[in-house]
């Protein structure tokens, strides 16, 4: 088998013996080629049959489904077409686009990216926070417009050290953010579904109370029906006029309309956002203010994270087909 194009040179007969894995949309490079060496990828969009008929024709084969990207959502309708499905493998940390409850009912396991993205998302959250407080992007714009010699020094920013940082969702990403910010002299506290007994950070069972005693909120929790708009008007007002919100979770964790209003009316101090409720749409009011930093959902886009998630996906599929424990099943 040639290293450059292994899939193309694998003889058809050998490909037939590879375990079949269903896709619902194309995989981008480098994922496709790597997976095609180990698995027979079923691709409905390459068939002349409409998707439902393709699924019905291949239902017997479809024990494992790869979910790449937030669409299509893996909903009850699709699951109903796949009676032999036992595993959904997601490329993301978040599985809000998968009907997890329906999977559970049907005995279908779901795996996510495990820890593949933890470091990059944590790094990005810290960078967003430093950027908002120290105005890095805003000052960079100021400099590039040639304003330093004309208008003088840029207005002062705010010190990161000593800030009380409230982590909303102390999973692996939230913990990685906490570990980093401790080195900057921040005080860490958190809200989670339940208190973590081995953690010494102060726990808040109520997000608004956490906000009231924090200078910064970093949103790193999963999006589900309980956490939709968990950052709402009450929380934002409790955070207060100097408060900063950093969201690297999902857009819908934050009431975006309310966030924009609070920013415009100076009810909160600033925000660093990698995610939005209706991507790629971003509220245009935010384009004209300097106390927000905006990014297009790219916290995981490093070669290292891509390599990492590919390994997790491959590992989960290989474990499944050899009846070994899955690497990163989602917890409930």
């Amino acid at each position: 088998m040639s290293a450059e194009n292994p899939a193309a040179e694998t003889p058809a007969v050998e490909r037939e013996r590879l375990p079949p894995v269903l896709l619902l949309r194309p995989l981008s490079f480098p994922f496709h080629d790597a997976l095609a060496t180990k698995f027979r990828l079923l691709k409905p969009w390459e068939s002349p049959l409409p998707r439902d008929e393709f699924l019905a024709a291949h239902a017997g084969d479809a024990r494992a489904l790869l979910s790449f990207g937030p669409s299509p959502t893996i909903d009850a309708e699709i699951l109903a077409c796949l009676p032999n499905l036992e595993l959904v493998v997601a490329f993301s940390t978040g599985v809000n686009h998968i009907d997890v409850a329906e999977c559970r009912r049907r005995g279908i396991a779901v795996t996510n990216a495990g820890n593949a993205f933890t470091e990059d998302v944590a790094d990005y959250a810290v960078a967003l926070l430093i950027d908002v407080l120290r105005q890095i992007s805003a000052a960079d714009r100021y400099v590039r417009r040639g304003l330093w010699p004309i208008n003088g020094d840029y207005p002062l920013g705010h010190k990161l050290g000593g800030k009380r940082v409230g982590i909303v969702g102390l999973g692996s990403i939230g913990s990685a953010v906490a570990k980093r910010l401790e080195a900057f002299g921040c005080t860490i506290q958190y809200h989670s579904r339940s208190r973590k007994p081995s953690i010494s950070y102060k726990f808040f069972s109520d997000v608004a109370n956490l906000a009231a005693e924090s200078d910064v909120l970093v949103i790193t929790c999963a999006l589900n029906t309980e956490t939709h708009h968990i950052i709402n008007k009450e929380v934002m007002l409790a955070l207060g006029k100097d408060g900063v919100i950093i969201n690297v979770g999902r857009g819908a964790l934050v009431d975006e309309k309310e966030l924009v209003k609070c920013l415009m009316e100076e009810e909160i101090g600033g925000a660093g956002l990698d995610v939005f409720e209706n991507e790629p749409a971003v509220p245009q009011e935010l384009f004209h203010v300097d106390n927000v930093v905006l990014s297009h959902h790219k916290a995981v886009f490093t070669p290292e994270s891509f390599q990492g998630v590919l390994e997790v996906v491959m590992g989960n599929l290989e474990a499944f087909f050899s009846d070994r424990p899955l690497l990163s099943p989602i917890s409930e």
Binding site: E119, Y124, I136, A139, V143, Q284, L294, P303
Partner: protein, 316 residues
């Protein structure tokens, strides 16, 4: 200290200026046009016993020579490259500065700039603000920061703080300093060239002296290489700026984050067109909290001097 004549070189901090005006006899250097500056100094020299300068305008040889009654230079900065220390030493003039209070801010900025540069954060912000985000998954890959080797040039207060922060990201740390530091676990390199050859992100955090002028030169930049990142939170003259710009334009250096420049506030416009740089206008200590602390240190040093008490943060 009403009798203390203080020459303030620039309007650097409204609170500091107000306090100096209230508590001392304040002379504002910028109120005289540059052409009349010599006359201004001559006229007020009998009263001026203190100079308060900053990283932009300090106490240069001409100023010190024009002030025969000068007793103390209280710098509103930690860098003293704009103070003629040799002359001060000769004349027995005390020099104070503002160490420690700005250490955290400078280190925070160094790490913020490092991640922003590797992860192209400012570029992302520009992209979104331009309305260019039209399709989901519209991305390019950028370099991870965690785990990258961070090389620190100058392991003083600020350098050590940078190291402590970078360690929390799993970054191996190496450094070059005039001398190897005892009790430090980081790998030492005896030359800046070797440091550049062994790190992914090189952070300049040393003081500017005759020896360190243009310490980041063509060779060092070439060694850092097409994937290397330079972060300068020291002084502009640490870096051969034209050399740096051509290396960035030609791809011989991967990326750079600059908080300081050779001729502030004038920055070569070629930098404005580059996507692989982050540019900030000398904001290393520019937070409300730190500038107040720096101002209080300047005032405290002047007061101690007038009362013949030990200076709070003397350099000389």
């Amino acid at each position: 200290m009403e009798s203390l004549g203080v020459l303030l070189t620039l309007p650097m901090n409204p609170y500091l200026e107000a306090e100096l005006h209230r508590r001392c006899h304040l002379f504002r250097l910028w109120e005289s046009p540059p052409a009349r500056r010599k006359d201004f100094l001559r006229a007020n020299a009998p009263s001026i016993r203190a100079v308060v300068g900053n990283a932009a305008v300090g106490a240069d040889p001409e100023t010190i020579d024009a002030l025969p009654r000068l007793e103390i230079v209280a710098s509103y900065s930690v860098g003293l490259d704009k103070v003629d220390l040799a002359r001060c030493r000769e004349r027995g003039i005390r020099v104070t500065y503002t160490p420690d209070v700005l250490t955290d801010d400078a280190a925070d900025l160094a790490i913020g700039l490092s991640i922003a540069t590797l992860r192209r954060l400012c570029e992302a912000d520009r992209y979104v603000r331009a309305g260019s985000w039209k399709a989901k998954g519209d991305y390019k890959l950028t370099s991870r920061f965690s785990g990258k080797t961070v090389g620190i040039l100058g392991l003083g207060r600020i350098g050590l703080s940078v190291a402590k922060r970078a360690e929390a990201f799993g970054c191996p740390i190496c450094y070059h300093s005039r001398t190897k530091k005892p009790n430090v676990n980081y790998k030492y390199f005896p030359s800046v060239l070797e440091l550049a050859g062994n790190c992914d992100v090189l952070i300049v955090a040393c003081s500017l002296t005759e020896e360190t002028r243009h310490i980041i030169n063509h060779e060092v930049i070439k060694t850092l290489g097409p994937k290397g990142v330079l972060v300068n939170i020291g002084r502009g003259p640490h870096v051969d700026e034209p050399e740096l710009i051509s290396a960035l334009v030609e791809g011989r250096l991967g990326a750079a984050a600059l908080d300081v420049y050779e001729h502030e506030p004038d920055i070569p416009e070629e930098l404005f067109r580059l996507e692989n740089v982050v540019l900030t206008p000398h904001v290393g200590s520019a937070t409300w909290e730190t500038r107040k602390a720096m101002a209080d240190l300047v005032l405290g040093n002047l007061e101690a001097h007038v009362l013949n008490k030990p200076l709070l943060t003397p350099f000389l």
